[in-house]
């Protein structure tokens, strides 16, 4: 209890907690859960966008998308490392993902049906992610906070590129405009749900706030996202598929209509449109890569043995 008080005092002073430092078991548990989920999200998140690399319609877009998906793999790597500082191994985390025990961001359980989805994901999904990650860059756990700083810088780039593509298509040909509005219709609600359930339905939040793991609530994040993106979408001639969406003069906030939380909970429980496909893709890559990893290990052992001679 004394150590807990001291720990909480350090956080209150804005100090970072580092790997060797004492921390409550629950703090460690929550961080492992969050960071590994976050890492899995990057790894699984490569799939829906990755599916469009082979179809990107210009050299520039293809290069941008390749760089983006590469960044996601890189983020996955930092985050697995950050989680490892808490005493969990990559193998354990991967095993938890492949067996279906671990979660990853719901958003990646939706399919990318057209090329416009890639733009919308870059702009809106990454836009929401940045709101969350900017907050997490303030996180009290040093390695997570530092990973977030680095990730945020790259995500900001993706966000800009996604927006640029969407704006181009929004003033493009009839089919391009239709394609991008369709994509917005499909991704709008899943994106809003990315920020997580309403604060009233989010039991972890108070503790996470107290320990400085989070510094904002889900609803705050969602509100920031709306206030930034709604005016820009409308300006581009795109209409979010929410008949209740309105600007509240009093608070200066954009107010959304009812969110389809039923769907959110179903997707979390594994019943989203692409859950099984995502896990299958990860499992298949893992299975088909087994002989390759074995060859790497065998070769490394042989090298080691030669060096020892």
């Amino acid at each position: 209890p004394e150590r807990l008080a001291e720990f909480e005092a350090r956080i209150a002073r804005g100090e970072k907690i580092e790997p060797g430092d004492w921390m409550p078991a629950e703090y460690r548990r929550q961080l492992i859960r969050m960071i590994s989920q976050h890492a899995h999200s990057e790894w699984v998140g490569m799939l829906p966008e990755g599916a469009w690399i082979t179809r990107a319609p210009s050299l520039r877009r293809k290069l941008i998308l390749l760089a983006k998906v590469q960044d996601e793999a890189g983020h996955g790597q930092y985050l697995y490392h950050a989680a490892e500082t808490l005493g969990v191994t990559r193998e354990e985390m991967v095993e938890a993902l492949l067996s279906g025990r671990a979660k990853y961001s719901n958003i990646f359980n939706y399919p990318t049906l057209t090329w416009a989805d890639v733009g919308i994901i870059g702009w809106l999904v990454d836009g929401m992610a940045i709101k969350n990650q900017t907050m997490l860059a303030q996180c009290s756990y040093g390695p997570y906070s530092r990973a977030m700083v680095r990730i945020c810088a790259e995500e900001t780039f993706h966000h800009k590129q996604g927006k640029e593509a969407v704006l181009l298509y929004a003033k493009g040909s009839r089919k391009q405009r239709q394609m991008v509005q369709d994509a917005l219709n499909r991704w709008w609600w899943p994106t809003l749900m990315m920020a997580g359930p309403h604060d009233t339905d989010s039991p972890h939040t108070p503790l996470l706030l107290r320990w400085g793991i989070k510094t904002k609530t889900n609803d705050q994040i969602r509100q920031e996202f709306l206030n930034e993106h709604v005016p820009e979408l409308l300006e581009a001639g795109l209409v979010p598929p929410d008949p209740h969406l309105r600007y509240d003069e009093k608070t200066g906030n954009w107010v959304h209509g009812p969110i389809p939380w039923d769907e959110f909970w179903k997707v979390i429980q594994g019943e989203g449109p692409m859950n099984r496909h995502r896990l299958l893709a990860r499992r298949r890559a893992h299975e088909e890569g087994r002989w390759v990893r074995e060859a790497m290990e065998a070769h490394a052992r042989r090298r080691l043995a030669q060096a020892a001679d």
């Binding site: 990755g50 690399i53 697995y80 089919k175 893709a281 890559a285």
Partner: protein
Amino acid sequence: MPLDPYLKEALVAKLTALADDEVVLAQRLSEWVAHAPILEEDIAIANLAQDELGHAKLYLELRQELDGSDPDRLVFFRDPLEYQNAILVELPKGDWAFTMVRQYLFDAYENLWLKEAEKSAYEPLREVASRILKEERFHLKHSVLWVERLGQGTEESHRRAQEALELLFPYAKQLFIPLPEEEALVEAGVVPDLKALEGAYLEEVTRHLERSGLKPPQGGYVPKDRKEHTEYLWSLLAEMQSVARWDPEAKAW
């Protein structure tokens, strides 16, 4: 160096063939992204695809300087029979051994070619070759290591690498067949003499393959020119060009 019209045309053809190899190889590499055997190789393969595509862009920009052609039109609106890539790069992605053995055979060729191209009498090509070579050295290190790992890894990895090599090796020789117009470029010192490089190439790759426990096969079919393709190219391009060609009214992507 000023290019006479004949040399200019020959160089346009050569730059296109160089770019086509990179575009098609990048496409095959792209198929792996997010499906590699380890996360680190997802990074590596995305990086390779990006580099190869970037090189294609550089070559096509050189071409653009010569004839004003638009690189995106060339990549996304040319038909399969107009592509001048070598068959090596269009073969389906196969397993990881196939991918890495192909990459090695291509990287080793490209490194040799670029080292000579750095001495080109045509300055813009010289510059581009230096830029590309910086990245290609890393590619070669990466694929050299993979050939060794697979060849000397497990029985299974050895078998798979050897099987890949059986199919791929003859196609590597196609990389050293010059274009019909290439001789004049060689004489003018604009591009390296492929025929002069082939011996060094075969020696180098044979040495590394054998050191890795792999045996380059004898014989096999070597395509006679870059007009030859396989059944796989049409589908590769159909997929790659599907969005760009989807809406004839779209002005920009």
